[in-house]
Amino acid sequence: MSISLALEQAGRKPAGKRPYFLNPEVERVLAITMAVAQELAVARERIDTLERLLEAKGLLSRDEIEAFAPTADQAAQRSLWSQEYIARILRIVQQEGEAITASEQGDLLSEEVAVELTADSKT
């Protein structure tokens, strides 16, 4: 029960109207970005702990991590992951780019199509 309580209420709005200092759309995106930045710091601290524990147990040295050089295959795998990752993040830019040159027929508003598709041919 407490987990559902926390999920539902951890981010609850406090009583009192929220002030906006920037364009609200910009401030909304900045707020999301700062929360993501926070979670990146959280993940980074966890990786740091992991490396230190592995080093303390003699499983690796942190110098090995710094000196690590991937083989050609490993580098290729990582590069492919990078490409996929960036493509995911910048999906909207890709789609906006494609829209610039989309043919009129390839870039119809769904509601326009809906009108066309629901037209009664008998009338």
């Binding site: 926390a6 009192g16 200092f21 900045l30 601290e45 710094e66």
Partner: protein
Amino acid sequence: MDSGETVTASAVEAYDGLPDSRVIGRHAIFPQTTHDDVARINFLAQLNRHLATQVAPFVRTAWESRVEPAARAEAGRPARDRHEVRKALLRDPMFNTWSALRRMTMEQRQQAGRWIALRQAEALAAKAAVSAGDKGRLTLNPALPMPRYVSAVDHHCMAGSYHTEQFPGDVSAGANYDVGLFITTGGLLGRWSDGGGRAIVDWVKQHKPDFKPKRILDIGATLGHNVLPIAAAFPEAEVIAVDLGAPMLRYALARAKSLGIDNVRFVQADATDLSMFEDQSFDWIQTTMFLHELSLTSMQAIFRESHRLLKPGGVVLHVEQPQYTPQMPLFEQAMRDWDAFYNNEPFWSTLHEIDLDRCFVDAGFDAAKLIHDHVSADARDIFPAAADDTVEDFGRKAAWRLVGAER
């Protein structure tokens, strides 16, 4: 920053900044935290400190180099008060960026603390219930009406404020408050977040060395973090801590017991009516960072109650942020006023401009027996370099004004 190679050993050795939040003291009712919870607290505390040390100075630069000249040119005269300064700043992108980030940091802090407290709310309540069985040390009043100054707006964006219960026996509001103090004060209150209480004990020991209080009242005690150093310094005294919020008081008792402080009892009450206590029954009445969360009428009533409750020879002391005096530059006043407008502290602005001396006299105190001084917290147990800190965080710094009166 990359690991290992790029951080020189000398930089690591010379580091005297904000400590890792694992220095926070862990008493028995302190919530369990995961590695991620702790990392989140670390990040938010560092982010607060960054905003204070690296971004707020740019707001001053913006004010001096472009906002003030433009506002003066437009009005044909300098700004007359802090409100004109604030309204001019609201048109500046640097002020707005700093403000947006400061507000978000507070919201993220609340979310992080509530995520910790709410997900273990039942376990914490069960622990607190054991302490609450300790007869006579916790007096709750479920019928107590919440005053408008608490119910209308949640102070410092703390959803549900001090008093809201998720279920009977809940202490999650106290747990959330406790885990977040390190973040909002940037570690400047020390391991047990009790820098305010320790500062007032030092002041009393220095200025009233022969003072032997038998009965002490702390108003607006929340977690009891500031009253415990007082109780510890005067172990012979009977100490009574009052607050509006039952979740706070339940948590505070469990916290006090865990820290071995046995001469404090906790009472749920609105301090505008402390009729359960007799006239002239306290030697010392204390509030710490409390007055700014009231309303004018409630503060006047609390001053009158303080006068009624104080024994002749007794002392009332309030620790607060500095007043907006004519000597304080209008820019600093406007920056200090930020919390009033943007961090849900609606009485903050008024409290810091009114004539507190007059409030004491109106409540019956002798104008010749008023006290004015300054106190500041030391955090040398966890953050020694903060002692040399020149950072101005406009309302968050652990350096306060002391106002009070002897009777």
